[in-house]
Amino acid sequence: MPTSPGLYAATANTIAVGVLLVEFLMLRASLFRAQVRLYAVQSLIVCVLAVVVAATHDLPELYVLAGLSLLLKVIVVPVVVLRLLRDADVEIAGSGVIGVASEVLLAIVVAGFGFFAIGHLHLSSSVLPTAALSVSVAVVLVSFVLMIARSDVVSQAIGFFSLENGVSLASLVVASGLPLILEVAFLFDLLVAVVVFGVLMRVHHGRTDTLSTAGLTKLKG
């Protein structure tokens, strides 16, 4: 007999589903700016969940983590990417290899697969309901759809950053006790990755004068 979830579990699940919904919104966002803003919103939701977990489970180091993620993922990364976009002067993402409708359908299938596959493993967590873990894996898989289906460097980079959001969500569920120093190391690494992504996006734009990856077909075989 499934029991009805308590208020805390319901809230946590709702927040986690919010992360997934934003991921879906990213799939259909056609303006670069909108996509970056959605990423900021998604990061913010993950931070909120971290604060909720910290407050209810007496895990003070999660406040620090939430603060750092807020600074980095809600402010620094979006600002960096938006500045790059301003310099590049391109507004609209090129259409992907498949239409938006099929993209979303594919993402639903993939997300469902991730959700049920993880649910099947019965990993239980002391701080968050297991459904949140399944949702986080769905987020990771949908971010792959975003990276694969879109053919421009910005969407692909944002796809990778949101993949990292999915992993952060998973780590809140199953690894909320992970020592703070390691979490900070992960975030620092993300920062380095963002810088490198930014440099390479700039190099790409400098050489091809576009943000599209459609021309990147020289190397094969």
């Binding site: 019965h122 990292e164 199953v174 120093i181 810088v195 490198v196 050489r207």
Partner: protein, 486 residues
């Protein structure tokens, strides 16, 4: 005996910082000095690490990590020598000083990150170090500023980072598994995790292992997540290609072995070995087929790297200590052989101004040293005695047969032979077939020959008579991998 570890984690970093301010000439000399010191430090660790793990704060070295330190240290040293000659050839270009500065800073940082990864105590820090290797090497791939390099760098950073995203998920699940036994405040360091391996819950360890093989496997170059590899290897500057192939892939493989150790403890051998066997056979199969019809000499070597990573993976999947020792010897021999082959190929690419295999002919006349050295290294890499690869593949196959993996062993032999045909036919033509009268004969620089000679010497030494201390180290590390002493 802890200071070599500390110095290894500091010397290349300091050198990179110095390279920002000094001239290209001084930076080259500093890089050689730093790499020689690093290699010496790695050798100094051989003895102590064979006797047991050494700790210093977050640094830890045991027999297994020292094997990978040796591979990186050796390639760091040889590429530092090679870079002197390599940069001479670029000296005329308009932005040479900026290029040389970026190159030296980048290559020292790259070596630093790869030396740090095996020294990290714990799966979390290991992930951090490997992510750092990715971002630094992505910038080095892009350094040539050509269309090809830009494309390769973008593919590389995106695919490898996504792979590492999956590896981070693996890290988190492994933490979850460990936290069930060790409490939530442990930090994923190896020894507690290995000691508790037998009691870890099965489902999360299984999940973590598969995710780790897929995630780190992206950087190892395992099929089907190898797609960045040929592009990045072909478009990067030659010294970077050599380090990517010989050292970066190996360091990522080191991460896979760490997960394997824990998975064998928690799940028994069958499941992890099965997973590795599938990835290994797929890599070996696809790579050997791609080798048959390859037109680009650097891509040829890149696919040969995928092939060798497949051999390593299959070797681990055999589960026999003798095969494990073979795998670790193979890591070293491959570093020497493939590093040297890339450097030799780099000289030819420069002399002929093309990477197209079919347009490189009569190498023996044009490059009387580099061309035959390249050919010898290719035959060494294909497993001809007395190369180290022959010895290591022999051990791997022997271990497989002894442990009853007959199909795996036979597949390995057949596919390695296919790969050999692909490599041998095209490279022999490059060196021996007549043609190309318009190319002036003559070696560009001694700096480009000496490191290749060193690589060949190391490859043969590993085959003919590996030093006793090294054999002890490999035996110890192999015992560790097979679930023996930590």
């Amino acid at each position: 005996m802890t200071y070599p570890m500390l110095l290894l984690a500091l010397v290349p970093l300091v050198t990179a910082a110095l390279c920002v301010v000094v001239t290209a000439r001084v930076a080259g000399a500093l890089t050689i000095a730093s790499s020689a010191i690093s290699l010496a430090l790695a050798i100094a660790l051989v003895g102590p690490a064979s006797r047991g793990p050494i700790h210093l704060g977050i640094l830890r070295a045991d027999a297994l990590s020292v094997v990978f330190l040796l591979a990186t240290g050796f390639l760091y040293f040889t590429t530092a020598l090679y870079s002197v000659g390599y940069l001479k050839g670029e000296a005329g270009s308009p932005h040479f000083h900026t290029y040389a500065r970026r190159f030296h800073v980048g290559i020292n940082l790259f070596a630093w990150s790869m030396l740090c990864a095996p020294l990290m105590d714990g799966l979390a820090l290991l992930w951090v170090a490997i992510e750092v290797t990715t971002v630094i090497s992505a910038l080095l791939v892009a350094i040539e500023d050509t269309d090809g390099a830009t494309e390769a760098a973008w593919k590389y950073v995106l695919i490898a980072s996504s792979g590492l995203g999956i590896a981070l998920l693996a890290t988190i699940f492994m933490y979850y598994a460990g936290a069930q036994r060790l409490g939530s405040s442990y930090d994923l360091s190896f020894e507690p995790l290995l000691a508790a391996a037998r009691t870890l819950p099965v489902a999360p360890v299984r999940l973590a292992f598969v995710l780790a093989v897929l995630g780190y496997g992206t950087k190892v170059g395992l099929v089907p997540v190898h797609t960045w590899l040929p592009d990045a290897h072909a478009e990067a500057p030659t010294p970077v290609s050599a380090m990517l192939s010989g050292s970066l892939l190996a360091v990522s493989f080191y991460a896979v072995i760490r997960y394997y150790e824990i998975a064998v403890g928690a799940l028994g051998g069958q499941f992890p070995q099965g997973v590795l066997l599938v990835f290994g056979v797929a890599s070996l199969l696809l790579a050997s087929l791609y080798l048959l019809g390859q037109q680009d000499v650097k891509r040829l070597l890149a696919y040969s790297s995928v092939e060798h990573m497949g051999i390593l993976t299959i070797g681990v999947s055999f589960g026999a200590p003798v095969a494990a020792a073979g795998v670790l010897l193979h890591v070293l021999a491959h570093a020497a052989g493939k590093g040297g082959a890339f450097m030799g190929a780099g000289v030819m690419v420069r002399a002929y101004r093309t990477k197209d295999l079919t347009r490189i002919r009569d190498g023996l006349r044009v490059l009387p040293w580099s061309a035959p050295l390249f050919l010898l290294l290719i035959f060494g890499l294909s497993g001809f005695p007395p190369s180290g690869i022959f010895r290591s593949e022999f051990q791997i196959v022997a271990g497989g047969l002894a442990n009853g993996h007959h199909t795996g062993a036979v597949l390995l032999i057949v596919l390695v032979t296919v790969a050999f045909i692909g490599l041998a036919v095209s490279t022999t033509r490059m060196i021996c077939a007549p043609g190309a009268d318009d190319i002036p004969a003559g070696e560009p620089s001694r700096w480009l020959i000496a490191p290749v000679l060193l690589c060949l010497a190391a490859l043969i030494l590993l085959g003919v008579h590996p030093p006793a201390a090294l054999s002890d180290l490999l035996t110890r590390a192999a015992a560790q991998m097979s679930g023996g002493a930590a």
